[in-house]
Amino acid sequence: MENENVLNEEIVVAPEAEAEEKQQYSSLRYAWGAFVAFFGFSTRTHRASKQRAKLVQDIATYLVLLFGAFIMVYPFWWMLAGSLTSTEGADSSLLYTLIWWPERTPAGDGRSLFYNYQYFFNQALIPSNGVYLTYWRAVLNNLIYSIVPVVVGVITSASAAFSFAKIQWIGRNAVFFFLLAAVMIPGPSVMITQYVMYSDLNWQENGLVLIIPGMFGSIMTAFFIRQFLFGLPTSIIEAAKIDGAGYFRIFCQFILPLAMPAIMAQGLLSFMGCWNNYMGSFIMIPSQSEAINLPHAMFIVSTKLGENQGPNIAASVLCIIPVMILFACFQKLIIGSLMLTGSKE
C-alpha cells in the first residue's frame, strides 16, 4: 500500500507535459472525470484518492456479498414462513404463492400458529404392516444413527491416524496407501453387494446397517486427523514412553485431548452427514421398517400428504434446526478444518 502511494505521487507530481495536455480536454470531459473520481475511479483528467477508491470498492463488495447472502439465506426464511402457512383444504395454494409472509396462518383460522408442526407430531404417522412409526421414533432413530457410529467411528479413525502418524511399524506406508486407494472406489458401485451382505446379516430391518459399518471409522477422517497429528511434536510421546506409558495410555491421555480440535471438527462434519443421510436409509432399510431415519420418514410422509404441503415444510424446518444449531456453535472449528483442507491440497 505504502509503495503504491509513493508511486502515485511521483506520477502526479513529475511530468509537466501532462499538465499541458490536460487543458486539451473539453469541460464535459472534466465534469465526467470529476464525477467518476468521486466514486474512486481515476481518469486522465482527475486522479481519485486511494482512500476514496478503497471506500467505494468496500461498499461494492459489501453490496455484492449481502446480495449473495440474501440468496443463500432466503430459502431458509421461506421455509420458516412456509411452515406457518395455512395449507389445509382450500388453502393449499397459499404455500405455492408464498413470498415473504403467509397470507393466512393457521392462527387466523382459529387453530394454533404451529398447527403444521403439531400435524406432523400427532397425525402423520406411518401405518404400514401394523407398525406405527411416530415422528419422535424417527427422530430417536436419527439420533442413534448419527451419534453412535460417529463417536465410535471417529475414535477408531483417530487411533488409526495415530498409528499412521506417530508409530513406526513395518508396512505402515503400504497399508496407508492401500486404505487410501479405497477412496477411489465409488460408493454406488459397491452398494449392491453391501445391500446383499447386510440383508444376509439381518442388519436391515433393525437399522444396524446405519450403525455398525460407521463404527469402523473412515479413511478420509483418519487422513485428516493424521495430517493434524503430524503437526504435534513427537517429543511428547517420547517423554510419555520414557515415563513408562504404553501406547494405549499415550493414545487415551495425550493424543485424544491434543487432537481434539481435529477430532471434533471431523466428528461434527460426519454427524451432519449422518443426520442428513437420506440415501443410506432409503436404500438399505425397507420403508415398512420401524428403523428408518428422519429424512426417510419425511419422504414417506410427503408422498401421503398430497397437496397439503405445510406439514412437510414444518418437518423440514425441524430437520434443519439441530444441524444449524450445531453449526452455529462450532462454525469456527468446522470452517477452520475445511479451510485446512483447502490449503493442504
Binding site: 508511486l7 468496500d58 455484492v64 456479498l65 449473495g68 440468496i71 443463500m72 430459502p75 431458509f76 412456509g82 405455492y96 404463492t97 477408531t156 479413525s157 487411533s159 488409526a160 498409528s163 508409530i167 513406526q168 511399524w169 513395518i170 486404505l179 465409488p186 454406488p188 458401485s189 459397491v190 452398494m191 449392491i192 453387494t193 445391500y195 446383499v196 451382505m197 459399518p213 463404527m215 469402523f216 471409522g217 517420547e238 514412553k241 520414557i242 513408562g244 504404553g246 501406547y247 494405549f248 437420506y278 436404500i283 429424512p295 419425511m298 419422504f299 410427503s302 404441503q309 423440514s316 434443519i320 444449524m324 470452517i335 475445511l338 479451510m339 485446512l340 483442507t341 483447502g342 490449503s343
Partner: protein
C-alpha cells in the same frame, strides 16, 4: 511394561534412531554393543504390535465394506444372481458362481443389457425405444454444467470475501448454511419455490406465462403435451420433431435446470471456503511486486493469483466431477411425488439405475454390473483429468 521402565534410556535412544535412519546407522557404528540389542527389538515389537492394533478396525472396515464388496460386485456382475424367490446368501452365490451365469447370453449379459435398445415400460416414453442407460447418464452429465457455474460464482465471492473487510467470517458462515442443511428439506422447499406462481417465476416475471391450460411457467410438470412449454416459449404452436414430442428432452431439459440451480446453490459455500483458504495462501509478495511493475487488478488476478490457486481448483474439479457422477438423492426426491415412475427418467442420475435394478427389482447381478460400469466411468474420467493436468504442467 516394567521392563520398559528399567530400560527407558535405551528405548529413547532406540526410538530416536528409528525416527532418523541416518542417525540409526551412526548410532550402530558408534555403539556396537550386543547387549543393548534386546531392548531395541522389544521396542520395535511394541511398535509393530500397537501400530497394527490401532489400525485393525479401520483395516477390517475398509477391506470388508469396500474391497471385498467391490471384488464381489465385480464377480457377481457376470451372473444372474438375484434376490427373488428363494434367494441365496452372498457367499454361497459366489461359490456357485459358475451355475449362476446365464447359459444363453454368457457372462456379459448385463453389460450388453446396458447398451440395448428397448421400449420403455412407462406410458410417456413407450413410443421412444432408447438405450435407457444413455438417458440416465446424460442427466448426470447435464448436471455437471453446474460445476463451472459454481466455480466461477464461488471464485467471485471468495475474492470478495478475502478483501480485508469486516465481517468476512460472518459471510462465510452464511454462505455455508445450505451445505449443512438436509437435502430432503431443500428439495421440499425448491419444489415449491419453482411452482407456477412461486417465488422464482415471480422474480423472472413468468407468472403470467401461458401454456395450454396452465398459468405460470412450468418448471416441473407431467405434461400430456410435452412440447407445450417450448411451443409457448418460442411462440410457435406448430413445432414438430422428436425434441418436442419426447418429454425427456423438452420438459426434461427445463426440469434438469432446477436441479442445476439447486445443486449450485447448495454446493457454493463449500467451494467458497476452499477458495478463500487457497487465496489466503497466495504469495502476497508476488502480488505486490506485480503491482509495482504496473499490473492492474485484473492482470494480477489472472497472472499471479490463478496460477497459485491452480492446485485448489484442480482438486475442486476432480472431487466435484467424481461427486457429480454419483448424484442420486436430489433428482429422485424432486420427481418422486409429482411424476412418479414417468418422471424418473427425465431427471434421475445414473445411480438411480443401480438402485432401480439392484435394490428395487432385486436383480443383484444386474445392479452390480451397472455399478462396475460407473466405477469404470469414474476411473477413466479421473485418469483423463490427471492426464490433462500433467500435460498442462509441461
Amino acid at each position: 511394561m516394567e521392563q520398559e521402565v528399567t530400560t527407558s534410556v535405551a528405548e529413547s535412544v532406540a526410538a530416536e534412531a528409528v525416527l532418523n535412519p541416518a542417525e540409526d546407522a551412526v548410532a550402530l557404528e558408534a555403539a556396537p554393543q550386543v547387549k543393548k540389542r534386546k531392548p531395541i527389538n522389544q521396542q520395535k515389537l511394541q511398535d509393530n504390535l500397537w501400530g497394527w492394533i490401532f489400525c485393525v478396525p479401520l483395516i477390517i472396515g475398509t477391506v470388508w465394506f469396500v474391497y471385498v464388496a467391490f471384488i464381489l460386485a465385480f464377480l457377481l456382475s457376470f451372473t444372474t444372481y438375484n434376490g427373488t424367490g428363494t434367494s441365496m446368501p452372498l457367499m454361497e452365490a459366489v461359490a456357485k458362481m459358475g451355475t449362476l451365469i446365464d447359459p444363453k447370453q454368457g457372462p456379459f449379459i448385463w453389460y450388453k443389457e446396458l447398451f440395448t435398445f428397448k421400449a420403455s415400460t412407462s406410458q410417456l416414453y413407450s413410443r421412444f425405444a432408447t438405450v435407457e442407460m444413455w438417458r440416465y447418464l446424460f442427466n448426470t452429465v447435464f448436471y455437471m454444467i453446474g460445476i463451472p457455474i459454481g466455480m466461477i460464482l464461488s471464485m467471485f465471492f471468495a475474492v470478495c470475501m478475502s478483501r480485508d473487510i469486516r465481517g468476512g467470517n460472518l459471510f462465510r458462515v452464511l454462505y455455508y448454511l445450505p451445505c449443512v442443511a438436509s437435502s430432503i428439506a431443500i428439495v421440499f422447499t425448491f419444489k415449491i419455490l419453482f411452482k407456477e406462481k412461486g417465488v422464482i417465476n415471480e422474480i423472472l416475471g413468468l407468472t403470467d406465462f401461458t401454456q395450454g391450460n396452465s398459468d405460470g411457467f412450468l418448471w416441473m410438470a407431467k405434461a400430456p403435451d410435452p412440447g407445450k412449454t417450448w411451443k409457448a416459449l418460442l411462440d410457435n404452436p406448430d413445432l414438430k420433431g422428436e425434441f418436442y414430442e419426447d418429454p425427456y428432452w423438452c420438459q426434461g431439459i427445463i426440469t434438469k435446470c432446477v436441479i442445476i440451480v439447486m445443486s449450485v446453490w447448495k454446493g457454493l459455500g463449500g467451494t467458497i471456503i476452499l477458495y478463500v483458504a487457497g487465496l489466503s495462501g497466495v504469495n502476497a509478495a508476488t502480488k505486490e511486486a506485480a503491482q509495482i511493475d504496473g499490473a492492474n487488478g485484473w492482470q494480477i488476478f489472472w497472472k499471479v493469483t490463478m496460477p497459485d490457486l491452480y492446485p485448489v481448483i484442480f482438486y475442486n474439479i476432480v472431487t466435484s466431477v467424481i461427486g457429480g457422477l454419483q448424484i442420486y438423492a436430489e433428482p429422485e426426491l424432486l420427481m418422486s411425488t409429482s411424476q412418479a415412475a414417468d418422471g424418473f427418467m427425465t431427471t434421475s442420475g445414473y445411480v438411480a439405475l443401480i438402485y432401480r435394478y439392484g435394490v428395487n427389482r432385486k436383480q443383484f447381478g444386474q445392479g452390480a454390473a451397472y455399478g462396475i460400469f460407473l466405477a469404470l466411468i469414474i476411473f477413466v474420467l479421473t485418469l483423463f483429468q490427471f492426464w490433462l493436468d500433467s500435460r498442462n504442467k509441461d
